[in-house]
């Protein structure tokens, strides 16, 4: 069954108009995967446009190379047009889409979630710090943490899985093969589509000059996040399988993964936020700029509070830092389906589909 996408027709029609012009030009086909994907087709249905939009990494190379940007009557601004489609596609594929629209557009809404989550932990800690564990668990028992977090971790993942299923129907995706996934992961791991095609990088923050700053900061963020995630996963295994509860020494997997992960995450997010301030907002989806910025800061704050918590071990600051850190983590997870965070999932799906299309 095909899901009818309620995406607004204006953004789709506008992207179709621009892509028709791009397909007659083809000067940009060396920059990224979007243009070869355009060249493979002549007609672009809504699903095709949504796929192209999610394939676009917003490197902006095509905008600066384009002879047809405003005030030319063709008014090409493909990075913005595809960003508009992309953001709407995350919203319309979301469940419920109202949440996505709210949190993607509003930094204030994200901050509100964060404040509520932190407050929740402060209250919880104040009322339940009667356990006799070590480290964090002196303040909040592990079972209590698991009880609180498990549903809030699992639910967003289930929602995202459902969103991706809908996306796959929208773009008419085929059964996935390992080789498609390998290609997609390799592309994401190297941020190939922000390389400018030849490693010179993208045009994000320095006008028509190419730099790799965004690529590096993005990878610091992505790998930082993944390391933090791996740290948590190993800690969970140590806890349950090996009966080794936290706190862990420096030379343990959770710390060896988590410490560099936290540092990378902080550096990456700070860098991305800095670049975003310098970038031209008119080459992206302006409606979600506030929400995107708030999300980057939230992600960075998660890393920063985690690190602070580590350095504060044994001091009286731990309870308040713990509440703040857990608040950021919880917010991050709750917001996962409804924030910029989903771009990673959709991007990977788009890269997998692109690998399929290329193979045909």
């Amino acid at each position: 069954m095909s899901v009818k996408s309620p995406i607004t027709t204006e953004v789709i029609t506008e992207a179709q108009r621009q892509i028709r012009i791009c397909n007659a030009c083809r000067y940009c086909e060396g920059y990224c995967s979007v243009f070869p994907a355009i060249n493979r087709q002549r007609q672009f249905a809504t699903g095709d446009i949504i796929q192209l939009a999610n394939l676009c990494h917003n490197c902006q190379g095509c905008y600066h190379a384009c002879q047809y940007i405003e005030p030319h009557e063709f008014k090409i601004n493909l990075p913005q047009s595809l960003a508009n489609v992309r953001v709407e596609s995350w919203q319309t594929h979301s469940i419920p889409s109202f949440f996505a629209i709210r949190f993607q557009q509003s930094g204030v809404a994200i901050a509100a979630i964060l404040v509520i989550a932190i407050a929740l932990f402060i209250i919880t800690l104040q009322n339940l710090n009667t356990t006799d564990g070590n480290g964090f668990y002196a303040y909040m028992s592990h079972s209590m943490m698991v009880l609180m977090f498990t549903p809030l971790f699992i639910a967003p993942l289930i929602i995202i899985a459902a969103m991706l299923k809908r996306y796959w129907q929208t773009i008419n995706g085929k059964p996935i093969r390992l080789t498609h996934v390998q290609q997609a992961i390799s592309s994401a791991a190297t941020m190939k589509n922000l390389s400018g095609g030849q490693g010179q990088g993208c045009n994000y923050e320095a006008g028509d000059r190419f730099t790799n700053k965004r690529r590096w900061f993005h990878q610091a963020t992505m790998f930082g996040f993944l390391l933090c995630f791996a740290s948590t996963a190993t800690a969970t295994i140590l806890h349950y399988v090996f009966q080794l509860p936290a706190p862990y020494p420096l030379l343990s997997l959770p710390k060896l993964l988590g410490l560099p992960g936290g540092i990378l995450l902080v550096i990456g997010c700070a860098g991305l936020a800095w670049l975003k301030v310098k970038a031209n907002p008119d080459l992206g989806a302006t409606s979600v700029r506030g929400g995107e910025m708030a999300f980057i800061l939230l992600l960075g704050l998660t890393g920063a509070t985690g690190l602070l918590l580590y350095f504060a071990t044994g001091t009286s600051l731990v309870p308040v830092l713990l509440a703040i850190h857990l608040g950021t983590v919880l917010s991050l997870f709750i917001l996962m389906p409804y924030s910029k965070m989903v771009h990673g999932f959709f991007r990977l799906a788009a890269l997998i589909h692109d690998a399929q299309q290329k193979a045909r």
């Binding site: 397909n23 060396g30 060249n39 190379g61 002879q67 063709f74 000059r209």
Partner: protein
């Protein structure tokens, strides 16, 4: 000095700086040739001012619309495969120009093109494998990653890094020349007149193809219906001013290079996307719905070169390519959707053609088609029989609805009239002596080597080779 009004302080202080400095090298123009000249001159330490007539968004002249560089090479070079020797390159040039070339200058351009490619890379220009649909050029032409505007951006960045002062919206009106020596120039910046003094000058301000009055004078009133594929800023003001001051001209003043493009294209600046490659699969008719030339005569690029002229000769300078659903996907996608109808009658109505005349023409054509093998990418010899005006290849009946129509108009690419130069790119006077401190590069002198016809990517070769030369020579003159 007039510095008042609507412009910000930065602009005013730059304008002040412009007019109080005696520049070592002034470069008129802002495309590839101008930038190559400015970069070469600035590399020697000279103070360089580049005067671009367009605002920043439209900078780069016709280079904005280019996509490749025809390059000689004795072995594989960058993305270029195999070899492309000077003799073969020169033969290609002779074939398109029918000998309308200065052999010495042409061979110089060709020979130096090989060293230009690595130089361009060093200036930040990137090359890529030849674009989809252009495999025929993969041996001879190096394609710019991102096209001509990306090239222009890279060159502006390099020029700025070298300290070149760039003034946009700077329309040069007049050079003050005394005893064959350039002294100063008058220009208009944002509707303010200024005078600028320089020790040497490089003219790289293009041809006159966007000056419709001049085109109409040269070609006749029909030229007002031509579309101009490139920049609207090439008005030929500097070219005209130099010719009025005794510069020697080169190239046929009445001719321009025109191709048949989508008739719905913008008047100016439509660029590459307005091309239509549907002619060989079409029945092409004029306003009276009559055919006027063998649509299947030849493959690209010859076909490309002649159809602009053919359409220009028709009433109202318009023609219509009629195809059916068998052929609609056989050529590069068009920028505007084809006009579509279920019957030829309805198509004629939509195109504003006489219905009976069009159906008669197509019927007559269809009846003359023969059975045989159709090969869209080569001369297949599938020809009509019995028509006074045959179609000699790809002649398949137009009979499978829906039917499609594309209006065609002449799209002017460049003009041939230019300034005669010597081997150091110095502009020559009518007396066959050079102006002491005036050089020329790019379209304004391309007529020296490309007197007729068109050779893909050769304009950029001329611009790069002579732009570099002019910049080097101008800088040497003041050192």
């Amino acid at each position: 000095m007039i510095l008042a009004g609507k412009h910000d302080t930065k602009m005013n202080s730059q304008t002040l700086n412009l007019t109080t400095t005696t520049w070592d090298v002034i470069v008129v123009g802002g495309g590839n040739a101008a930038l190559c000249a400015a970069i070469e001159a600035a590399s020697t330490g000279a103070t360089v001012l580049l005067l671009e007539g367009a605002p920043p968004v439209y900078r780069g002249g016709n280079s904005r619309h280019t996509r490749n560089f025809r390059c000689m090479h004795k072995g594989p070079l960058s993305n270029l495969t195999d070899t492309y020797h000077i003799d073969e390159y020169f033969d290609d040039l002779i074939r398109v120009t029918k000998g309308q070339t200065d052999e010495k200058l042409a061979k110089l351009a060709i020979a130096e093109s090989e060293a230009c490619l690595p130089w361009m890379e060093a200036q930040g220009i990137r090359f890529q494998p030849s674009l989809s649909g252009t495999l025929s050029l993969s041996r001879t032409n190096a394609f710019f990653l991102g096209g001509g505007k990306a090239l222009v951006n890279a060159l502006y960045n390099t020029a700025e890094d070298l300290g070149v002062t760039v003034q946009y919206n700077a329309m040069v009106e007049k050079l003050i020349i005394k005893n064959s020596r350039f002294e100063s120039l008058q220009l208009n910046i944002n509707e303010q007149r200024h005078s600028i003094v320089g020790k040497s000058i490089v003219l790289a301000s293009g041809g006159f193809q966007s000056n419709l009055d001049w085109l109409a004078q040269a070609w006749g009133p029909a030229a007002r219906n031509f579309l101009i594929r490139g920049t609207p800023y090439n008005k030929g003001v500097v070219l005209k001013n130099m010719l009025d001051q005794g510069a020697q001209s080169v190239g046929d003043p009445t001719q321009c290079h025109a191709v048949a493009i989508d008739g719905r294209a913008p008047k100016f600046d439509g660029g590459i996307v307005t091309r239509l490659d549907c002619v060989p699969f079409s029945v092409v008719v004029n306003k009276s719905a009559h055919r006027f030339y063998d649509e299947g005569e030849d493959v690209w690029p010859k076909r490309y070169a002649i159809w602009g002229r053919l359409v220009a000769a028709q009433e109202d300078q318009i023609a219509y390519a009629i195809i059916d659903s068998k052929s609609v996907d056989l050529f590069m996608p068009s920028v505007f959707p084809a006009i579509q109808a279920d019957t030829l009658d309805k198509l004629a109505q939509q195109l504003g053609l006489n219905e009976k005349a069009l159906t008669d023409t197509v019927e007559q054509f269809n009846n003359a088609c023969q059975t045989g093998d159709f090969h869209p990418t080569e001369l297949d010899g599938l020809r009509t029989h019995g028509l006074e005006l045959p179609k000699t290849n790809w002649a398949r009946p137009v009979n499978k609805p829906p039917f499609y129509g594309y209006p065609l108009r002449p799209g002017v690419t460049f003009t041939y009239l230019g300034l005669k130069i010597n081997e150091t790119a110095q502009v020559m006077t009518d007396l066959d002596t050079p102006f002491k401190n005036i050089w020329a590069a790019g379209e304004i002198m391309a007529g020296n080597v490309l007197g007729q016809g068109y050779l893909a990517g050769f304009g950029m070769t001329i611009g790069t080779v002579f732009g570099r030369k002019a910049g080097q020579e101008a800088a040497r003159h003041v050192s």
